[in-house]
Symmetry: C2
Subunit: 327 residues, 2 copies
C-alpha cells in the first residue's frame, strides 16, 4: 500500500503539502491540489489511520460499554451508535461488561492504550470517579453517572405514569408493579412514576422487586398471582419482565387481557411478537443511541453541546395485553 511519501514523490511535492491537502488544513495551491489528487488516485492511496492516531494521540473509535449485548435492549442501541459513528468516521468497539467492575476497568484500560476517542456507557456500577478521572469524553446512556457527565435517557417517570394510568383507565383496581432492581436509575424512576399514578386513587397496590429478566419475572409473577388472585393489572418495568408475567398468566390459565392486563416498558420488538401483543411504554431506543453518539462526538471534537441532560420522550403503544384495542 502506498504511503504519504509515495504520493508526495509521485506528485513532486513534499509530504507536508500532501498532509495539508488531505487534512484540508493550511495552504495548498490549486496546482498542487490537482497533482496530489491525481497521484492519490493513481496510487490508490489511503492514509494509514494507525500512524495518524499515533501522532495525534487519538484514534477514531468509540467504546460502547453495555452490560450484555444479549439483553434485547442493547442491540438496537448498538445499532444506532454504530450508524451514527460510521457517518462521522468513527468505528465502534463493543464491550460487554457483565456488570463486572474488573472487566469494565480492563476494557477501559485497554481501549485507552489504543487511544480510544471516547466512551458511551450504559452501566453504572463503577464509581463515578473512574469515569471522571478518565480524561476522556464520556456520555452516559439510560443511566446517570455523575453531574459532570452528559446523560441521555428516556423520560422514565413520565413513561410509567402513562403506562400505569392506562391500566387504571382500563379498569384495573388491584395492580402489581414489577419494579426493577433497586438503585438502578431507570428502575427507580419508573417506580416513582408508578407510585405517582396510583397515588390517591382507590387502587390496591403491590410492589415487588424483579430483575429486568425473563425467567425470574415469570417465577415471581406466578408466585404473586397465586398469592393474590385478585390482581387484575401488572405494570412491569421492562418488556422482558412483562413477557415473564404474561407467560405466568398463561400457565395459570389466566386470561389476558380479560382477567389480567399487562403493560411493559421498553418497546423492544419482542413485544409485538407475543400473543397477545404487549402493550408497552416504548422508548425510542434508536434515538437515544443516536443522540448519545452525537453528543459524544461533539465532546470529542470539542464542539459545544447544548444540554447536559437529554430526555427522550416515550410513548404508550397499545396492543393486546390491555383491553383498549385489538386483541
Amino acid at each position: 500500500m502506498a504511503n504519504i511519501r509515495d504520493v508526495a514523490k509521485h506528485a513532486g511535492v513534499s509530504v507536508a503539502t500532501v498532509s495539508r491537502y488531505i487534512n484540508r488544513k493550511g495552504y495548498v495551491s490549486k496546482e498542487a491540489k490537482e497533482v496530489i489528487e491525481q497521484s492519490i488516485a493513481v496510487l490508490k492511496y489511503k492514509p494509514n489511520l494507525v500512524a495518524r492516531s499515533l501522532s495525534k494521540k487519538q484514534a477514531k473509535f468509540i467504546g460502547l460499554i453495555v452490560p450484555d449485548i444479549m439483553n434485547p435492549f442493547f442491540p438496537e442501541l448498538a445499532r444506532a451508535v454504530e450508524d451514527v459513528s460510521l457517518t462521522y468516521g468513527y468505528t465502534v468497539v463493543l464491550c460487554n461488561s457483565d456488570r463486572n467492575t474488573e472487566k469494565e476497568i480492563h476494557y477501559i484500560e485497554t481501549l485507552k492504550q489504543k487511544y480510544v476517542a471516547g466512551f458511551i456507557v450504559t452501566t453504572n456500577h463503577l464509581d463515578a470517579q473512574h469515569y471522571t478521572n478518565l480524561e476522556l469524553p464520556v456520555v452516559a446512556l439510560d443511566r446517570t453517572i455523575h453531574p459532570s457527565i452528559p446523560t441521555v435517557s428516556s423520560n422514565n417517570k413520565e413513561g410509567s405514569y402513562l403506562g400505569t394510568t392506562h391500566l387504571i383507565e382500563q379498569g384495573c383496581r388491584h395492580i402489581l408493579c414489577l419494579r426493577g432492581p433497586k438503585g438502578v436509575g431507570p428502575a427507580d424512576d419508573r417506580l416513582a412514576g408508578f407510585l405517582e399514578a396510583v397515588e390517591g386513587k382507590e387502587i390496591q397496590v403491590h410492589v415487588i422487586d424483579c430483575p429486568f429478566e425473563y425467567n425470574q419475572a415469570e417465577q415471581i409473577s406466578k408466585q404473586t398471582l397465586l398469592t393474590y388472585p385478585s390482581i387484575d393489572g401488572i405494570f412491569a418495568s421492562s418488556d422482558l419482565s412483562a413477557a415473564g408475567a404474561l407467560k405466568a398468566a398463561h400457565s395459570l390459565g389466566i386470561d389476558v387481557p380479560g382477567e389480567l392486563q399487562i403493560v411493559g416498558f421498553d418497546g423492544i420488538s419482542l413485544g409485538e411478537m407475543m400473543t397477545p401483543g404487549l402493550t408497552t411504554v416504548a422508548q425510542d431506543i434508536y434515538k437515544m443511541g443516536a443522540i448519545a453518539t452525537r453528543v459524544l462526538i461533539k465532546l470529542i471534537e470539542n464542539l459545544p453541546i447544548e444540554h447536559k441532560e437529554i430526555q427522550v420522550p416515550v410513548t404508550l403503544v397499545q396492543r393486546g395485553t390491555t383491553r383498549s384495542v385489538e386483541k
Copy 2:
C-alpha cells in the same frame, strides 16, 4: 502516561531491553528483568498499543461483519466473539453491513487502514474475491464464502431433517415449509433437509419463500393458511418466521399445537418466551461464534488449524408448539 523510554531510563537499561522484556523475546538477564519489572510497576507503565500496531503493521482487533445486530441471531454470536477475543487480547469492532455491498466494502477498507488483524464474516453478498484478495485472515460464519476460507456453521441439513421428522412423527400430514431466501447457504441447506425428511412419505407439502423475518412471515403464513386450511404443520427455517407463523395462527383462531404444529430453527431466546413455547431446532450460536473466533485467531497468529470446515451440531428443543411435551 509513561512510555517505554521512561521505563528504560528509570530502570537504567535501554529501550530495546525493555521491549524484549515486555514481549518475552530475545535475551534479558535476570537482573535486568527485575529492575524493569520494578520500574514498570512504579511508573504504572502500559505499552502504547497504537505505536505497537504501527511498527508491527497489525492491530489487535477483529472486525465482526453482521447484516444487522438487531436480528436476534447476532447478539449471541457477537457475545461469543467478544468473549473469546477478550481472552486473547483482541478487541471487536462491530460492523452492520445491512446486506449492502458498498457499506461492507467501506468497512473493510477502513478497518484495513486501521491494521485490523482479521475478519469474521456472516454475510456473503460480496464476491468471494473481495475476501480472498484481502490478504487478511477471514473466517466465514453460518455461510460459505469460498473454499479457501474456513467456515463454521451448524449442521443445517441435519437440523431441518430432525425438525421435519419430528413434525411427521407428531402426526402432521400436510406440511408447509417456510424456506428462507434462495441462494443463502443455510436457507438452502435447511430446505434440503426438509425435503429429505418428507421424501417418499405420504405427506402433502408446500414450500414457500419467506425471509428470515417476523412481519413478512406473519403475512405469508396467514395467506397460506387461509388458502390451504388443511395444513397441519409448519416447518419454519428460522425462529423469527416461526414466530410470525404462530402469530398468524393465533389471529386466525387456529389452535397450536392442537390443529397446527410449528417447528422453528435457531434456538434464540425469543422461542421460550412465546406462548406456547416454540419447538425449534436449536443451533449452538455461542459455540459457533466462539469456534470461529478461535479459528480466526489461529489464522492471525499463524498457528495451524485442524479443519477448514467445522459443523456444529444442532439439537431439537421440544416445547409447546408441537404435541410431544408440555403445552
